[in-house]
């Protein structure tokens, strides 16, 4: 149900390009696309979050 409170959080970021992300959240650097998919999948299952592709090579894990 929609609410006025902030309900979506970025729990983690997985990326291939270390220069494209930064900030205070957990960032996972991956060496290739395959590893990116694998790490994102594991994080998705562990965190019960959803992996969204922000741009090629960068995934964010969002708790909805």
């Amino acid at each position: 149900m929609p609410s006025q409170a902030v309900s979506n959080f970025i729990l983690a970021v997985c990326t291939l390009d270390s220069t494209s992300v930064g900030g205070s959240g957990p960032i996972f650097y991956c060496k290739d696309e395959e590893e990116l998919q694998k790490v994102s999948l594991y994080l998705e299952k562990i965190l019960d979050a959803m992996a969204h592709e922000l741009r090629p090579g960068t995934m964010i894990l969002v708790k909805h």
Binding site: M1, P2, Q37, S40, L41, E44, K45, D48, A49, M50, A51, H52, E53, L54, M59, K63, H64
Partner: protein, 296 residues
């Protein structure tokens, strides 16, 4: 048999028959069987007793008995609260929840039906007094049919056209035809979504329907009904596998992305067609006198 006894007996029987006829446990399994049904049958007996006894007391010139009805109204409002509370509690454990609008609709139906039972018992008891027991039974039967017709509401099929649509990905974005549903980054999830997803587009027939299918409660009710009947390819902790509905803001069309276990689009269309049009969600903007052009 004593006249008053006959009045009460016929009135009560007609009332109970009316409640039994309106009490259906279908695919929704609501009211739950067997105890949920017993609760509502018992309340139906009380309601029909009230309606029948009212006639007997009025004939006895005991007019203060009408105040009894206020007690009944209070009692049946509690029924509504009880239903609402229970359904809301249970809803948090559903994979695809019913949503509050659907729950309010169900709770309201339960309250309303008890009043129909009182009315049916009252009129058949009254008819028994004037036209003997045969007249009472006939009036009771007529009341039963009226109640049945009156309480079966409209369905979604009467206000929208339903079409099959293609589920596909453009990059990480999931589309049903040309309507964006959500972004899913994992290749694994994308394959599952395309393999198990069924897409439908609901095209509103007029402006009333456009507003109605925009209502989040109505949309949740559709998703719940489809998931109940066809099953759902979803589990807790799987936020990337969720059935969802999205509106096309320009045309008012509604895209449904479903994840049924039984992937038959024809069955899904038939189910969506039969989803009840929730009375709390239904709007009639075309009735507004400021809009003579009848456009939205």
């Amino acid at each position: 048999m004593h006249d008053t006894t006959l009045i009460i007996l016929i009135g009560t029987i007609c009332g109970i028959a009316c409640r039994l006829n309106l009490l259906r446990t279908d695919y929704r399994q609501y009211p739950t069987y067997p105890h949920g049904r017993i609760v509502h049958l018992a309340l139906g007996v009380i309601a029909s007793g009230l309606g029948a006894v009212l006639v007997a007391t009025l004939l006895d010139k005991n007019y203060t008995a009408v105040t009894f009805l206020t007690l009944a109204a209070q009692q049946f409002r509690d029924v509504r609260n009880m239903e609402r509370q229970m359904l809301t509690n249970v809803d948090s454990m559903e994979l695809v929840p019913r949503g509050v609008t659907y729950i309010e609709g169900i709770a309201m139906a339960f309250e309303g039906r008890n009043y129909l039972v009182i009315a049916n018992a009252f009129f058949s008891a009254l008819a028994t007094h004037f036209f003997t027991w045969i007249g009472g039974l006939i009036v009771g039967l007529i009341g039963l049919f009226i109640a049945h017709r009156f309480m079966s509401g409209r369905t979604l099929g009467s206000v929208v056209e339903i079409k099959k649509a293609k589920v596909h990905f453009q990059g990480p974005n999931l589309f049903v035809d040309d309507i964006l549903i959500y972004n899913s980054g994992l290749k694994d999830s994308q394959e599952k979504l395309v393999k198990n997803g069924v897409g439908l587009i609901l095209v509103p027939k007029n402006a009333n329907a456009t507003v109605t299918i925009g209502n989040l409660g109505q949309r949740q009710a559709i998703l719940h009904d489809v998931s109940t009947i066809l099953g759902v390819y979803h589990d807790s902790g799987e936020p990337s596998l969720v059935p969802l509905s999205k509106r096309d803001l320009n045309s008012g069309r509604l895209a449904l992305f479903l994840l049924p276990l039984d992937r038959d689009p024809d069955k899904a269309i038939e189910i969506v067609r039969r989803v009840p049009l929730l009375e709390n969600a239904y709007r009639r903007p075309l009735k507004g006198s400021v809009k003579p052009d009848r456009q939205l």
